[in-house]
């Protein structure tokens, strides 16, 4: 298994959020069906080149209706053959990256259809504890030879696995081309787990490093028989206190290797525990409320309310400023004091404050492609400490609001949390549409909860429709564009100015009337 392919997919996933927000890119993401041609043949290439090529090709060959048709076709097929057990995995490799607070798992499966009928989908299984921390599952199927590999994005959706033991949760990957008997294919899966590392000891003092447990299975949980499998666990440092052994187990530097294990039956499970040092900041946004307010007068106003916490080992007892300031390397290594918010370009009127006023420790760097706001909370955050703050900024509307071909308007904006390296437990995104807009609908590449609200702002009479999108367990991979479509009649823009004008007019009219009418009772 060439490690190059790991890199290429990884590149792709990380680069998706930073796609240029033009119409082409939007269509690429909507279609859910594109190829990166020869990505791995040119590993030294500039990433944007690959993307450009991908976008061009995708825009040529993929169209939304077509994708939908295929999807419908596939789901019909899958009903007939969902419980097919005649699949086995020839070779499985799992790479678990624990170097940040999110466990990033990269799974490569070589799947063979051993049955009689064609198989149209492949099932993945997760233990229930992992399933509830699962932030994102992405999959793609590789086809072709080593040098000319092409990738196709697969649709992943949760499903019930009928005979799964102990409440294991399943996900179904719908293959584009049904796997005919005897044929093999390679599937690559990327998934992320939040809150999967448990600090132990749970309370540390200011000078201690932060140690965490990571629990998993040495064997890959799968509804299929696996012929051969290996698991690699990458820790952030060489300081690994202990790890379970399921022979053969090797440790080399920052990498733990479990396996290879031969010929394991379906749903094999062997718990392992890794205890290692992880001093990366466990910056957890417990709740984030983002409000995006559209003003057709040319501004997009974003207000973000953060509840930030340090999710790592709690600070025990004393916080000494002397130690913190005089020995920064040895004191509070797991604490963090600044964060980076990546904002769209051409941002203006940025503010950073909390409920008791402005927080002066922030810096804004802007260039033509991005804006970076470096913020420091009022105090450094140690384990268990919390802080709240608000970031607000304005953006030019023409960068984000477009008119679709059917006359509707749509907002194209980034989902997710702009703070890099954070995990959001609960994200609420409110899109405040202008007063008088109708039929809002959102197009988002992953499932979210949706409902409507009404907000009254400056001089509103009927209120502004607010589309509220809620999602739990948000990781930086969710920072991808989404669209909100709505219809709006521009005449409503004039309502508020006319109201003000008429108020002033009536004020003057009543003044004139008052001056010219004698309302005294006594005439003299």
């Amino acid at each position: 298994f060439p490690p190059v392919s790991f890199l290429s997919l990884h590149h792709l996933c990380l680069l998706l959020p930073s796609l240029p927000t033009d119409a082409t890119a939007v269509r690429v993401l909507l279609s859910g069906d594109f190829k990166v041609s020869q990505a791995e043949t040119r590993p030294g290439n500039d990433a944007s080149d690959q993307l450009g090529a991908a976008a061009m090709e995708a825009s040529l060959r993929a169209h939304r209706p077509a994708a939908l048709l295929i999807f419908a076709f596939l789901s019909l097929l899958s009903v007939s053959s969902s419980a097919a057990q005649e699949i086995q995995i020839l070779n499985a490799e799992r790479r678990i990256d624990l170097s940040s607070q999110v466990a990033i798992v990269f799974l490569t499966l070589k799947v063979e259809n051993t049955g009689k009928a064609a198989a149209s989908d492949v099932l993945l299984a997760f233990p229930p504890t992992e399933a509830e921390h699962l932030a994102e599952v992405k999959a793609q199927a590789a086809s072709g030879k080593k040098r000319k590999k092409t990738y196709a994005h697969l649709i992943v959706e949760p499903t019930d696995v009928p005979d799964a033991p102990n409440g294991a949760k399943g996900f179904r990957l719908a293959l584009h081309n049904p796997l005919s008997p005897g044929e093999t294919t390679t599937i690559e899966v990327l998934y992320m787990l939040t809150h999967s590392m448990e600090p132990f000891p749970a309370e540390i003092s200011q000078s201690d490093p932060q140690l965490v447990y990571y629990r998993d299975s040495a064997y890959i949980l799968s509804p299929y028989r696996i012929k051969q499998q290996t698991t690699f666990i990458k820790t952030p440092s060489t300081n690994v206190q202990s790890f379970s052994r399921v022979e053969p187990t090797n440790r080399a530097g920052m990498e733990l290797k479990y396996g290879p294990y031969e010929d394991l039956p379906a749903y094999s499970y062997s718990p392992v525990l890794v205890h290692f040092e992880n001093n990366n900041p466990f910056a957890v946004v417990e709740e984030l409320v983002r409000e995006v307010e559209i003003s057709h007068w040319g501004n997009l106003q974003i207000t973000e309310h953060y509840t930030l916490a340090h999710g790592g080992a709690k600070l025990k007892g004393v916080f000494s400023r002397v130690d913190y300031q005089s020995r920064p390397s040895a004191s509070g290594v797991s604490s963090f004091k600044n964060l980076l918010a990546r904002l769209p370009p051409r941002v203006h009127s940025v503010y950073y404050r909390d409920e008791i006023g402005n927080i002066s420790s922030s810096r804004l760097r802007t260039d033509s492609r991005k804006s970076e706001l470096e913020i420091e909370p009022r105090y450094p955050l140690f384990g268990g400490w919390k802080s709240t703050f608000i970031i607000g900024y304005g953006l030019p509307l023409e960068d984000f609001l477009f008119e679709s071909t059917d006359g509707k308007r749509y907002l194209n904006f980034t989902f997710g949390c702009p703070l890099s390296g954070t995990v959001v437990d609960k994200l609420t995104l409110k899109v405040v549409l202008p007063e008088g807009s109708k039929d809002p609908s959102a197009v988002i590449p992953f499932p979210v909860e949706e409902h409507m609200e009404t907000k009254y702002s400056y001089l509103d009479v009927v209120g502004r429709p607010v589309l509220v999108l809620e999602k739990k367990n948000v990781v930086p991979e969710h920072n991808i564009p989404f669209q909100v479509y709505y219809t709006f009649n521009p005449i409503f823009m004039l309502a508020e100015p006319l109201m003000l004008v008429s108020t002033v007019f009536f004020l003057f009219a009543s003044c004139v009337a008052y001056l010219h009418i004698d309302i005294s009772i006594r005439k003299g």
Binding site: R321, N358, I359
Partner: protein, 784 residues
């Protein structure tokens, strides 16, 4: 009086009446525009704090008002009246609804509600920040009205412009300074205006409005007693000088009756409105004015001879009754310990009272007597213009001008007692300076105009103008008179010199006597303009540099011109609010009580309301005690965190070590085992190696300097400019839990009680000393 008619509008003048009304309308419009501009000036000069810093509530008391307003806007008025606040004065609590002057809070709450009902989503904080600038615009308009009643619109506009930017008032009403005084000064001036208006018109309508304005003042500020003493004094003055009239009666009697009834509706005043000595003067004068009214009435219906008989009869009977009443009054007053006066009022009557008996009043810097520079700082050139204004008020002396004189005299006295009352002096100074400037310009420009015959364009029209206006003037139509006067006002203030060139100058013969030499007049006008310019420059400087700092954020300029922000207070409050339990009690000196409850939302022992001296003394005693005793006092009060402010690292002078002697004094005032001399070496307060052991072992010293020596290796205190006396020590009963970035706020946690078993093993070592201490502690700690 008629001289302003000399102002002629321009060459478009046609026949008398039409042009006259046109000009009146024009003058009115200009005066109106000037007033609007003055309002804008008053508002915008107070925005330096928002522009230089941020839109935030300032200092200490405003945070309490802000918190009350938040409560009001969230829970409504009825909950506000019944609000018992358990977040402060733990474990006593405080009845907010009954102990707070609600005027400011209700005003801001109403503004917030109105604005939000119009779907303008302003936050409570924004409304609170901008309440003070809005009301200072109102105050300058009220000053215009008042001065206009006294000396005409010219003086009114000048006074309004002066008041809009007087530094003394700016110091209390910059944006963010959300304090009672901000609205109270408007209420004060407006009440005085309505009083004068009633006095001038004799209208019951204005008398009722006056009582309502007085009610608003009572709601807003404890300084309302100034009104209820000053107006009776003026009434008495009028009676004594033989100026009694039915207008005076209408101006006064309804105010006392309605005003007292309304005042007693405010919970914080209640029955004090009839029971305390501050209000007795008004009742006494109320009786006197009735006697005088009766005398005048009887005098009117009786023949002179009969009247004499009646006088002797009434005087003899009346004297007897008066003696009896006064005897009863004296007995009642003498029976109360403070003679029926509150501590702060007594401080006003006897400036040495507070320093002798109530250290807590004396410890507040704004209760100290002002120094001479502070007069110059706060009212600037007005101090020199006021005497001229007083002289102007004597020619001619009217009821209203005598009121203004009385106002300035009393407020000068009060401002001499307390710095804070400079605020009451400021409007009076502005009014009198406005009168002085206006009169001076009047005289000077008239003499210039009279002596520039070459400029007099078409004397025929001008004289016709003059003639028509002198005909109109005796008709005494108020509107004409007003409008006509507004015209020169504008000129006086803005276009002195242009007038000289443009306007023709007819003049009345009687005015010629007042003409000054041309050169002298021109030079005097120039000098006055210079004086005004100096005043403006000073005010802008004061607003921008001296009075705009919010005091919770400090800034300093580094050598390369960069700005360094010290935001330690909010850092600490924010830490407290997010990382401690919501019911934890925080002990600190009372200065930080309001801020802790408002910003950190934690329960405090004492706050800036200082209503319970014993409680404050307990905290003072704890801070001045050794660690163990302090721990016991705090522990008995359920305290979990102790907050101290320490400026030694960055050189912030108003920290707790510098305030520490007041803690010792106040603590020692109630618990005599704390003795001030124990903390002083040869009468000197010091924290270096020469300091007394009591000082070096007290809690405040230890909490402030814990591990301080590790910052620079020497323990050099940058406020006291000395090395500290005791450098290396450990804390046994407290542990450091948070220190802010610049060390300005340090928070310690009380360590939990020791386990019994460990205590037993130690008992053999120090059983005697512990038992002997326990006896003393019984006396020291009132909460045991």
């Amino acid at each position: 009086m008629a001289s302003p008619e000399s102002a002629v509008n321009g060459p478009t003048m046609t026949a008398g009446a039409a042009s006259k009304s046109l000009r009146n309308a024009f003058g009115g419009v200009i005066a109106f525009i000037i007033l609007v501009l003055i309002g804008v000036l008053a508002f915008s000069i107070r925005l330096f704090s928002v522009i230089k810093y941020e839109s935030v509530i300032h200092e200490f008391d405003p945070y309490f008002n802000y918190r009350v307003t938040q409560f009001l806007s969230k829970n409504g008025i009825y909950d506000f009246w019944n609000w018992f606040d358990d977040r402060t004065w733990y474990p006593l609590g405080r009845v907010i609804g009954g102990t707070v002057y609600p005027g400011l809070t209700l005003t801001a709450g109403t503004i917030w509600k109105v604005v939000n009902s119009l779907n303008i989503p302003l936050s409570v904080e924004t409304v609170c920040v901008f309440t003070a600038p809005i009301f200072s615009a109102f105050a300058s308009w009220a000053a215009y009205l008042l001065t206009k009643e006294v000396k005409g619109p010219g003086a009114g506009l000048t006074a309004a412009a002066l008041l809009a930017m007087v530094p003394s008032y700016i110091s209390r009403s910059v944006a963010g300074s959300y304090d009672n005084e901000a609205v109270a000064i408007f209420a004060l001036v407006f009440t005085f205006y309505l009083y004068i208006k009633t006095l001038n018109t004799g209208s019951l309508f204005y008398a009722t409005l006056n009582a309502l304005a007085y009610f608003y003042m009572v709601c807003s500020w404890g300084g309302y007693t100034f009104i209820i003493n000053l107006i009776p004094m003026h009434v008495l003055l009028c009676i004594v000088t033989g100026r009694y009239s039915s207008r005076l009666y209408i101006a006064y009697a309804p105010l006392v009756v309605l005003g007292t009834l309304l005042a007693s509706l405010v919970p914080v005043v209640g029955f004090n409105a009839v029971l305390t000595s501050e209000h007795f003067a008004s009742f006494l004068v109320f009786i006197i004015i009735h006697v005088v009214a009766l005398a005048y009435y009887i005098k009117g219906i009786l023949s002179p001879k009969m009247f004499k008989v009646a006088v002797t009869l009434v005087v003899s009977v009346g004297l007897a009754v008066c003696c009896a009443v006064i005897a009863i009054l004296i007995a009642v007053v003498a029976s109360s310990p403070t003679k029926g006066w509150s501590g702060r009022s007594l401080t006003l009557l006897d400036p040495t009272y507070a320093s002798k008996y109530i250290p807590i009043i004396a410890s507040v810097s704004e209760h100290q007597p002002p120094t001479w520079p502070s007069y110059f700082m706060d009212i600037n050139v007005l101090a020199f213009l006021v005497p001229a204004g007083i002289i102007a008020c004597f020619m001619p002396l009217t009821d209203s001008s005598s009121f203004v004189i009385l106002y300035i005299v009393t407020s000068v006295y009060f401002s001499g007692v307390m710095v804070r009352l400079m605020l009451v002096l400021a409007p009076a100074a502005c009014i009198l300076s406005g009168i002085a400037l206006s009169e001076a310009f009047n005289v000077l420009t008239r003499s210039i105009k009279f002596q520039l015959p070459g400029i007099a364009g078409n004397p025929s029209i001008a004289s016709e103008e003059n003639g028509s206006s002198t005909v109109v003037a005796p008709n005494d139509i108020p509107k004409t008179e007003e409008a006509a006067k507004e015209k020169p006002a504008k000129k006086n203030r803005k276009k002195e010199k242009e007038n000289v060139e443009k306007k023709p100058t007819p003049s009345k013969t009687e005015k010629r006597l007042l003409v000054l030499p041309l050169e002298a007049s021109v030079i005097a006008v120039l000098l006055l303009v210079l004086l005004g310019a100096f005043y403006v420059v000073h005010c802008v400087w004061a607003a921008a540099e001296a009075y705009s700092a919010p005091s919770i954020v400090l800034t300093s300029h580094s050598n390369d011109g960069g700005l360094h922000v010290f935001d330690d207070f909010r850092e600490a409050y924010s830490w407290l609010s997010h990382n401690t339990d919501v019911d934890d009690k925080v002990a600190s000196w009372w200065d930080y009580g309001y801020q802790t409850t408002a910003m950190a939302n934690r329960t405090v022992l004492v706050d800036n309301n200082t209503w319970n001296n014993t409680h404050i003394a307990t905290v003072g005693t704890a801070m001045s005690s050794p660690e163990k005793q302090a721990w016991e006092i705090f522990h008995s009060l359920d305290v979990k965190y102790v907050l101290v402010v320490f400026g030694g690292v960055v050189g912030y002078p108003s920290d707790d070590i510098n305030k520490f002697l007041w803690m010792v004094r106040i603590g020692g005032g109630v618990f005599p085992h704390i003795k001030e001399p124990d903390y002083l070496r040869d009468g000197q307060y010091r924290i270096d190696a020469q300091a007394t052991p009591t000082m070096l072992n007290c809690l405040m010293y230890k909490l402030s300097y814990f591990r301080f020596v590790e910052t620079d290796g020497k323990g050099f205190d940058r406020v006291r400019r000395t090395e500290i006396g005791k450098k290396h020590f450990k804390l046994t009963h407290f542990e450091e839990v948070f220190t802010t970035h610049h060390w300005m706020v340090r928070i310690y946690k009380l360590k939990p009680q020791r386990n019994r078993i460990r205590g037993k093993t130690k008992k053999s070592k120090s059983s005697r000393s512990v038992s002997s201490k326990r006896d003393v502690r019984g006396k020291r700690n009132p909460w045991h």
